[in-house]
Symmetry: D2
Subunit: 358 residues, 4 copies
């Protein structure tokens, strides 16, 4: 981890892009080299191009960087390109970067369902990097590849699920209900008239993402390392709502194990408390000390109090108890713009460096 | 409905009591005759005794009524006594009133599990009034009786469940997740530091109430009219959270019918839309025109937009769709301080009058 | 007030337009005859064209009305046209309507500073209707005319100021600080990320409006009824902020009277409590029983508790006390989308009918 | 600054006490030695005694410290005692500590008006420490003394005022309007029903504090160093409101200089930008790099975006512009629980160490 890697950020002026900048500003491995945004912003200094909405100032060395258009020619010196692009433009741009032999870590949904693209939550399924050699072959690249991270709510869900599945085998049924923060919708995002003194019980496309992505992430790379074996026989039902919280998605989960009798509540707690992931073993800079924090208080986790623990890279789990209908239920919290977005990409890239892929 | 009944209100200075006063201020059947509160308030005028937190003024004829202690001697002229007392005092006081041959409609939890006390949601199980003759016998009263209404979240849940159970038979599994308004916790209730930019994923005792009360309400009076046959074989799992919303509890429900194949989504919608209840047939003043409002918009119901429909006495249901795990899922909204509290009691009392019990 | 007047609503699909529809749905004098919006909405039914954000349903008779483009030919049968148009289009459209001999009541800022256009707050300066004959002459109309109502914050300010000025003469200095609700910015309006757990201490153009409009409204029609004598020697300094409140602008006012010694606090209270305005004397349907409500509680007015009093057409004043720097200070509340917008226009139109101008 | 000073915290379980613990947990000069709270908490471990409401965990070395009663015998080894006690108990306890020859830094209001007790905002009037020798004489102590810090809103106000007064002489008139965060009221503090979708235009005693304290802080130690010469001829009028913001008080200020003509806006900005205070010169650990941050954006400062700058020890000033009534107006933001409370005490103590008083 001595050499410094140059990184580019696509969608640098948006909400996810701003988080990338804060996470990368004083990074021991990555140094911000290029910023990309729409043609409307290109040519401007970053501080003029962005409507900065973070509670820390724009890092000094970034303020006057000139924003480029999102074309690979402007990013060819970058060892890593982080994409915080919106889905409506991410598809074409990210493919153009990949075909220019660049390494792309994307937050967009566009390639998550692509059979040769890993969908990686860094504290859950880093083993899915094993598909990269095959992906390079498919796209005819020797260095470039693309990794997507998961939807923010899926990300929170799969971390404890991975720990439990590793210990007790797969689940037969999962019912999950989310209460998602407004920052998940970007800026300007949710109008205040829709969310003050209110809940919106619907987020377009979100439930389908959670129900599908969980099966890919908790599945495995096939034996030839040419594709993914999705989870079979695990059915997920998600209900997603938007709540008046700035940051931090809260999720209530009920689940049933395929194998019965189910583990005891104490076994569940023990497994969650002791869970460690590959990112920790690789000693990645952004890996949390604990990927899962178990909180024993009856009324935790809470978004405002728990979202910033472990710099936003942990999932906090609480209220672990028996479910009268299934086996267990619990509540989890994920910081949706850190581990649920830019933080996942950065940690994924650190893992890739540690694995020698970059 | 010509004669006017005199009513008393216990706990008149509290949040539920204030709602009673607004609901009863211009009522065609009931006239406010006596107000009860703690000894600290007794002897004061109502406007001096209460910290009024409603967005309408105190009705003029109530402002200067003198608050009494909650003793039956002060209420013996009342045809009906509404209780908005807290659980820590409701048990003794309500029993003293019942034994003084008074008619009590209670919001407290204390007698909900009592085998001879009906737990009535007025738009769901008005048939449970049939137990009153037996209850009077048990307590040795010729006029007095006690009715409790349900927990606010249970109330919202059982109205659509009742409609569906009547049409399609009982459920095998119900998983419900609530997002409950702060007014449900009274005043001062939830500290603002706990709920601004936050969710509290726990409400003491609430999940147990929902899981238990549902079985009594959706059950039936036994054939001898001496007790209740609770629902058997319907398992309920509830998760209850507190959200920064003033009024209106939102609930996400997933359920499975005992009888398979389950009804279609269209059948479900049709049954909910066409549901009518006894309170409507009896033409009670506070009965909603429709006990269930089905909203077809993908992002409704929403607390701020839908809670006041039908003067807060309806349950709004939306997002009716298939559940990958169970048969169907949907979202419902109940106004927690109207149908979920004082409004239930008032409508229950109107039903009792219409049935000749008062 | 027997005959029914046909009315049109411009900008009917917007936030102010929706308020017009609710205020006019069951009006004894006005009946909704035509709805205007952008060409994007034209030709659609109202319920398809609008994103309805009110907590009451769209009135049944309006749901299926076909929305028209905002051209006077579609509104020529209307006795009154209410405009909730945005300032960027209001200028041209309202002038086209005026020149088609139509009567326009506008919420937009475009003509407020026009020397021949009255700027009328209905419970403050209805006497400014006296300029209409001259205005008709200037624009060459025999029936048509245009009236604007004031900025929402100005409206709240001038009602108590008018009462005090009538009693004690003009002010030398006024310093006012506003805390304005998000509904004042329309929909989608203020992004939730800007206002949850936050205050925005700036509203573009708002302070200038308050500082200027106050002088026109508190001034008088000149003796020839050909123009307005603005207040001279009253200096206003405004600071305007946006707060996380749905409806209701709160304003803190410090003021000094030109004539010294200043009146006593008791005199101030008495004058505010006894204030009556022409709209009340004309017995207009939407006139509040009291144009100013004085609340003696130390912590009132409060937006959520007081905004709906008098159906939103009153200004509530509280905390009347001595100011160490000037003479007095007090706090006022106005419902910004009722008296502060659509409600002003409707009441202005009622006054015009009562005065025989329509 | 090599030697380590032992410190005690009174009121350690309250909101201010929790902030003290976070600020002192990794402090280079101070080490937490004793914790004091009510007799109800005494004898318990800190983590059992407190209802921790911070978004960082309780520091590990504090979790199991045993809470003591607030008696000087338990704190006699402490070089410094920080008091976050409520005013109803602070008077007696702090005096008992002082008379035990202990050094007390208090957040309570009780001794702020005491003629021999300095009222010090560390980035404004550190020169008031000069009174300590006299105070020790009065109370007969050789080591002990007591310093109070100011009300949180006063603190924000006086920092820019001090900079301007030093440069341009005293003010004749100041009108200030505050929008204060809920954390200022402690826990449980403001009920959520009072502040969601609402503003409370009143905080008991707050306006009087601002109007009085400003004159003491901006005044000077008299020439014999035996008392304070309060500002004369500067009149302050304050209006204080409570808003739904977690942390950060926003204040709108209009002011007039005694000496005319007043400085230009550019001069004002320059003076605020270049202001430095004694705490900076003494290189105190908690001193901000800049005591005043001037933000040139038209819509800043904002609580959520600016409160944490400079670790909460700076005052951010924006919207500096001419006032039509007075000379200038501007908006400022102070983090009420850092510089506005515990942060002031800690920095005051650091100054006292640097000055050799401890």
């Amino acid at each position: 981890m001595v050499a410094t890697k140059k990184v580019g950020i696509l969608g640098a002026t948006g909400t996810v892009g701003q988080r990338f900048i804060l996470l990368l500003a004083n990074h021991p491995v990555f140094t911000i080299h290029a910023l990309g945004a729409s043609s409307r912003s290109a040519g401007k200094s970053y501080q003029d191009a962005t409507k900065w909405k973070q509670n820390q100032p724009i890092p000094e060395n970034v303020q006057n960087m000139v924003v480029q258009e999102c074309k690979s020619t402007h990013f060819k010196e970058c060892d890593v390109v982080f994409s915080g692009l919106d889905a409506d433009v991410a598809g074409d741009i990210e493919m153009e970067f990949l075909k220019a032999n660049l390494v792309v870590f994307s937050n967009a949904k566009n390639y998550r369902r692509e059979p040769t693209v890993p969908l990686i939550v860094p504290t859950a399924n880093a083993s899915h990097f094993d598909l990269i050699p095959h992906q390079r072959k498919v796209f005819g690249q020797d260095k470039g590849f693309i990794i997507t991270n998961a939807n923010c709510s899926t990300t929170g869900l799969v971390v404890p699920l991975k720990a439990l599945q590793d210990a007790f085998g797969p689940f037969s049924h999962i019912i999950v209900h989310t209460q998602q923060a407004i920052s998940g919708s970007g800026y300007p995002g949710v109008p205040s008239l829709d969310i003050l003194d209110n809940i919106v019980p619907y987020i377009s496309g979100e439930e389908e993402k959670m129900e599908w992505e969980t099966g890919k992430i908790l599945g495995s790379v096939n034996s030839e390392a040419t594709g993914f074996d999705h989870l079979e026989n695990t059915v997920v039902s998600a209900t997603c709502t938007r709540v008046p919280v700035i940051d931090g998605h809260l999720e209530s989960v009920s689940l049933k194990f395929a194998q019965q009798p189910a583990p005891s509540i104490d076994d569940i707690k023990r497994v969650l408390e002791n869970y460690t992931c590959e990112a920790q073993q690789l000693k990645c800079h952004s890996a949390p000390e604990k990927a899962i924090l178990v909180n024993a208080s009856p009324d935790r986790p809470q978004p405002r109090l728990d979202r910033d623990l472990q710099k936003g890279q942990a999932v906090t789990v609480g209220r672990i108890r028996e479910c009268p209908v299934f086996d267990i239920k619990f509540t989890l919290l994920i910081h949706n713009t850190v581990l649920g977005a830019a933080g996942s990409s950065v940690l994924n890239a650190e893992i890739a460096v540690a694995k020698g892929l970059i």
